[in-house]
Amino acid sequence: MQRDFDKPTMVKIEKVIEETPTVRTLVFSDDVLSAVLPGQFAMVWIPGVNELPMSVMVYLEKGRAAFTIRKRGVASTSLYEVKVGEYIGVRGPYGNSFAIRQGNLLLVGGGTGLVPLMRLLTFLKKNDNVTVLIGSNTKKEVFFEKMANQILANNKHQVIVTTEDGSYGTAGVVTDVMEKLIFEKKFDAVYTCGPEKMMYKVVQLASSKKIFVQASLERMMKCGIGICGSCCIKEELVCHDGTVFDGKYLLSNKEFGYTHRNKSGIIENY
């Protein structure tokens, strides 16, 4: 069924959630995408505008899934502006997923990078002790704090929010909090998704303490299915070999944390 699978399936937006003044979550019904693994993504077609790779957001109701989007460029803004009752196309899921470990787990997310981490939370075991670090620049841009607490209600857990301007939670950046945490406590695994510079620091920190760490990467994507080559990072294709990579591998990949390719395939610095 691979071929039907790669053609957009139209889904109707059933609910729009305002997360922050710039971030919305679009909820729809789709059995396939409601059941994806954490880290997997879909190619999302905004008819007449563009198609974007989007990590599939969890929605805590059977058969439903969501996309959480921040308005930025033309394409993301048009997706952000999709209204209840309108259709978008989805194909996928594509890509691999986080390797789920047990024990003391640390999740470090920034912005919409929290999406695969929220899904990951729903896959964790009851005995896991989970720490979630949410990074934001300011109070009104903080989202998913409530949701993280809600998903982890039956776990021993803590959700720590950092804001760069100090308007909420801990002042500073998530990686500073992480640095302290990993010296105070032993973690069995670290998972991260967010801006690449942040992930690079997270991977470095975890590796320095020899903690298993994985990051979910983002690159320019066109096909999403491993044939166009746009999303390559050295010899790996983010859409097919990723989006999740082990930190150990990433530190050996000289492009991670430093460069990405633009639409024509030219390597540019972050």
Binding site: R3, P8, E51, I225, S230, C232, E235
Partner: protein
């Protein structure tokens, strides 16, 4: 004894007959190295233009019945950038695909690769979804003749022309290329096609029309290879929907000396190169062929 699956495309010798088709995965030397390790006999780059091209807005690639539909729009980093990127290459058999409108485009690009270690060039005379290049050039046999002549006069390595089905008779294009001294022909490219979403009545690709690849076009490609092989004395590389070793053998029997692999990678991933190579090897052993050249074009005797 296990048969050797090396093949000869004119003066180009390939250790294995399965090449990576142009447009697929071809923008990074590191990815080429990985595909070579995976069993590809040669890697054809994405078609390069004089300047970097961003290509079209997404959707650029979607799945359709029995294949893929794409209008990527020949996105590429440009010949100068690419030449620099592969300048460290020593061992990987790379064929550089070039796309342009006039002779000067091609000769400019060839100059960029003068010091690069490459097996040859493949001229894209057949991309069906970008204006003024590809198929629009291929549809004009006189222009093809001029381009091939000037490229041949400047290139130190063999030059292949990739042809497709456009609005004029593709055999006229092949003839023009042959008369101008081309070293081999790749046949075929994707075929102009489209898909429309029934919910919104919108064409799905941003470019509306794209090129169809995959199993859907295979019988057409086999026919073209057979026709070229019957009419011209020129080495042929078969391309179009090859998904397993049987498909590869079919193209070889039709007259191909090598085959190019593309769309199937989306389904089977890169292990497909060694899967096809092994299948060809086993088939040759069973049928007592000792080299690929013994099989090329043998369907023509009937």
């Amino acid at each position: 004894m296990k048969p050797d699956i090396y093949t000869q495309v004119g003066s180009i010798r390939l250790e294995r007959p399965t090449m990576l088709a142009s447009g697929i995965l071809g923008i990074s030397l590191d990815v080429f190295a990985r595909l070579y390790q995976a069993g590809a006999g040669a890697l054809v780059t994405k078609s390069l233009s004089k300047e970097p091209w961003e290509g079209y807005v997404n959707p650029t690639v979607i799945g359709v019945e029995a294949g893929y539909l794409n209008a990527v729009g020949l996105s590429n980093p440009g010949a100068p950038y690419f030449a620099k990127m592969i300048s460290s290459n020593k061992t990987i058999p790379i064929i550089v695909s070039l796309v342009g409108s006039v002779e000067e485009d091609f000769t400019f690009m060839i100059k960029q690769f003068e010091d690069a270690k490459i097996l040859g060039y493949e001229l894209n005379l057949s991309c069906p979804h970008v204006e003024k290049v590809g198929l629009e050039v291929g549809d004009d046999p006189e222009l093809v003749k001029k381009i091939v002549k000037s490229v041949k006069s400047k290139s130190k390595v063999p030059v292949i022309a990739k042809v497709g089905l456009g609005s004029s008779d593709y055999l006229d294009t092949v003839q023009a290329a042959c008369e101008a001294g081309i070293d081999a022909i790749t046949a075929i490219n994707t075929l102009r096609a489209m898909a429309i979403d029934v919910e919104t009545a919108r064409p799905i690709l941003s470019n509306k029309i794209g090129g169809l690849s995959g199993p859907a076009i295979k019988p057409i490609a086999v026919r073209c290879v057979y026709e070229i092989s019957s009419k011209f004395n020129i080495p042929i590389i078969g391309c179009g929907g090859i998904s397993d070793w049987k498909d590869a053998i079919e193209f070889i029997f039709a007259g191909s000396s090598a085959v190019q692999i593309g769309s199937v990678i989306g389904e089977k991933w890169i292990g497909v190169f060694s899967e096809i190579n092994d299948g060809i090897s086993k088939y040759m052993e069973k049928k007592r062929f000792s080299k690929i050249s013994e099989m090329v074009g043998i369907a023509k005797r009937f």
